[in-house]
C-alpha cells in the first residue's frame, strides 16, 4: 500500500484516510439497507403470524417496500412544534444514529474480517450505544410534548436499568476468552456448538440468557417496548417528529436489531468459526456469520409478535431483582469454574457437550409441544366444520 501511495505521489495517511472513509461509507450503506430490509422482513413475518399477507406490492414479494417508505418519508414536511427546544430537538436524531452506527466499527463480518479490531472492542460497543439514551432523553425533553417527555424518561430509565445486566452478562464470556477484542472473543470459541461460549457451562448459559433479555430491553423490543407503547404514550419520545428525522429513529431501531444479533453471534454463538477443512474458504465464514445473525434477528422478531408487553414495575423488578443478582451468580460461577478447570481440565471436555445436549433436549421438547398444539388446533377446526 505504501509503494502504491508513493507511486501516486501522495502521503500514505491520505490513502489510509480515503480507505477508512470508503469502509465507513460502505458500512453506513449496509446499515441503511439492512435496517430497511429488516422492516420488510418483520412486517412479512408479522403478517404470517397474524394470518394476513403483509406488504407484497412493491418489488418481488414486497421486497422494495422499504425504498418506497424511505422516499415517502424523505419528501415529507419536517415540522418542529411551537415552543420546542430547537437545539435538543435537532440534535437528538444525530445522537441516536451515532449510538447505533458507531458499534459497526467493531462488529465482525466473519473470521478476521472487521473494520477495526479495537483491543477494548466490547467495552467500546456497550459504552457508545449508551448515546442512544442521551438521544431519547433529548427528544423527550426537547419536544415540548407530555407524551414525549414521559416516553423519553421511561426509555432512559429502562435502557439504563438493562444496561447493567447486558454488561454483566458479557463478563463470563470475556472471562472465558480472556480478551475484549471481537476477534479475540471469536477465536476463543470453535466451530462446533459445544465450543461456543454460550454452551461452555451452566454459568455462561445463564449469562447468555441474561444478555439476550437485556439486549431486547435495550433495543426497545417487545416485551420491553414500553418507551413506545402505542396504547399508552401515542408514540413515546418521537411523537413530535416527522419526515426524515422520524425515519432516522426507525432506521436506528432496526439497525440496532442487527447490532444485537451480530454481537450475540460474535460473543456467544461462535461467530464465523469454520471447521478445519473449510478454513480456506473464508467467504463461507461471512455467510455463516450473517446466517447466525439473521437467525437471532428472526428470534427477536418472533418474540415481538408472540409476547404481550410488560408493565413498567414488572420491567424494573425483572432487571434489578432477578437479572442483576443472577448475573453476579453467573460471574462468580464462571470464575470458580475456571479455577476448578485449571486443576482438573477434564471438566472442560464434559460440560460443553452436556450443555449442548440439554439444549437439544429443550429444543425437542419445544417442537414436541408445538406439534401437540397443532394437532389439537386441527382437531377443533375439524369438529367445528
Amino acid at each position: 500500500m505504501e509503494a502504491f501511495a508513493v507511486s501516486l505521489g501522495v502521503h500514505i495517511y491520505l490513502v489510509k484516510a480515503i480507505i477508512m472513509f470508503i469502509i465507513a461509507a460502505l458500512s453506513v450503506t449496509f446499515m441503511a439497507v439492512i435496517s430497511g430490509l429488516t422492516t420488510w422482513f418483520e412486517r412479512r413475518i408479522a403478517g404470517r403470524m397474524q394470518s394476513r399477507i403483509g406488504p407484497n406490492r412493491v418489488g418481488p414479494q414486497g421486497l422494495l417496500q422499504f425504498v418506497a417508505d424511505a422516499v415517502k418519508l424523505f419528501m415529507k414536511e419536517d415540522l418542529i412544534p411551537k415552543g420546542a427546544d430547537r437545539l435538543l430537538f435537532k440534535m437528538s436524531p444525530y445522537l441516536c444514529m451515532i449510538g447505533v452506527f458507531a458499534p459497526f466499527v467493531v462488529l465482525p463480518w466473519g473470521m478476521g474480517i472487521i473494520a477495526a479490531d479495537l483491543n477494548v472492542g466490547v467495552l467500546y460497543l456497550i459504552s457508545i450505544t449508551a448515546l442512544v439514551v442521551v438521544g431519547t432523553l433529548m427528544a423527550g425533553w426537547g419536544s415540548n410534548n407530555k407524551w414525549s417527555l414521559l416516553g423519553g424518561m421511561r426509555s432512559a430509565a429502562q435502557i439504563v436499568s438493562y444496561e447493567i445486566p447486558v454488561a454483566m452478562g458479557l463478563l463470563p464470556s470475556i472471562l472465558f476468552a480472556g480478551s475484549l477484542s471481537m476477534i479475540g472473543l471469536m477465536n476463543a470459541q470453535g466451530w462446533a456448538p459445544w465450543q461456543w461460549s454460550a454452551f461452555q457451562n451452566p454459568f455462561t448459559m445463564i449469562a447468555f440468557l441474561i444478555f439476550f433479555t437485556g439486549s431486547l430491553a435495550e433495543g426497545n423490543r417487545v416485551p420491553f417496548d414500553l418507551p413506545e407503547a402505542e396504547s399508552e404514550l401515542v408514540s413515546g419520545f418521537n411523537t413530535e417528529y416527522s419526515g426524515f428525522r422520524f425515519a432516522v429513529y426507525f432506521l436506528a431501531e432496526w439497525a440496532n436489531l442487527y447490532v444485537i444479533g451480530a454481537l450475540t453471534t460474535a460473543v456467544f454463538l461462535g461467530g464465523g468459526n469454520l471447521p478445519e477443512a473449510l478454513q480456506p474458504y473464508w467467504y463461507l465464514s461471512i455467510f455463516l456469520f450473517l446466517l447466525k445473525t439473521f437467525f437471532i434477528m428472526f428470534v427477536i422478531i418472533w418474540l415481538r409478535w408472540t409476547l404481550p408487553r410488560f408493565r413498567i414495575d414488572q420491567l424494573m423488578d425483572l432487571s434489578w431483582k432477578y437479572l442483576l443478582p443472577l448475573s453476579f451468580i453467573a460471574f462468580f460461577g464462571q470464575a470458580v469454574y475456571m479455577l476448578i478447570d485449571h486443576q482438573f481440565p477434564v471438566i472442560d471436555m464434559v460440560t460443553g457437550p452436556i450443555m449442548f445436549l440439554i439444549f437439544l433436549l429443550v429444543l425437542l421438547k419445544f417442537f414436541y409441544r408445538v406439534a401437540i398444539n397443532f394437532r389439537e388446533q386441527n382437531k377443533t377446526v375439524n369438529t367445528r366444520a
Partner: protein, 136 residues
C-alpha cells in the same frame, strides 16, 4: 492501535454526515409551509394545556443513581475480567478471585441495603393498595 481509533473517528463523522446529508437533500425537495395548526403540539387532538416541560417522577432519579453506582462498578470489573484467564494460567487465580470478590461484595452490601430500603420498588403504592382491597 491509534489507527484503529482513527476508524472510530471516521465512523462517527460518517454517521453524522449521513444524517446531515440526507436532511440537507431532503430540505431541498420537501415542502416547507408551516402554519399555526401544524405547529401545535400533539395532545390527543385537544389544544395543549400548559407547556410540555412538566414535572416528572422522582423515581427516575433514584434509578439513575443506582445505575451510576453499578456502571462504575462494571467499568472496574472489566480489567480484572480480561486478565483473569492469564492469572489463572500463571497460578495466581485465587488471588485475583478473592480481590474481585471483595470488591463486588462491598458493592453488593450497598445493593442489598438499597433493596431493603425499598429503593428498587418501582410502584410503592400498588402493593399497599392491593392489601387494602384485600382487607375490605
Amino acid at each position: 492501535m491509534l489507527e484503529n481509533f482513527a476508524y472510530v473517528f471516521t465512523f462517527l463523522i460518517v454517521g453524522i454526515g449521513f444524517v446531515a446529508l440526507n436532511l440537507f437533500v431532503s430540505s431541498l425537495i420537501r415542502p416547507n409551509n408551516p402554519n399555526e395548526q401544524k405547529e401545535t403540539v400533539y395532545d390527543c387532538g385537544e389544544l395543549p394545556v400548559g407547556p410540555g416541560f412538566t414535572q416528572f417522577n422522582m423515581r427516575f432519579y433514584l434509578v439513575a443513581f443506582v445505575f451510576v453506582i453499578f456502571d462504575v462498578e462494571i467499568a472496574f470489573m472489566y480489567p480484572v475480567t480480561v486478565i483473569f484467564k492469564d492469572m489463572v494460567n500463571s497460578g495466581w487465580g485465587i488471588l485475583a478471585f478473592v480481590e474481585i470478590a471483595l470488591f463486588i461484595i462491598i458493592l453488593l452490601v450497598g445493593f442489598i441495603y438499597a433493596w431493603s430500603q425499598g429503593g428498587l420498588e418501582w410502584a410503592k403504592s400498588i402493593k399497599s393498595q392491593f392489601e387494602k382491597t384485600q382487607d375490605t
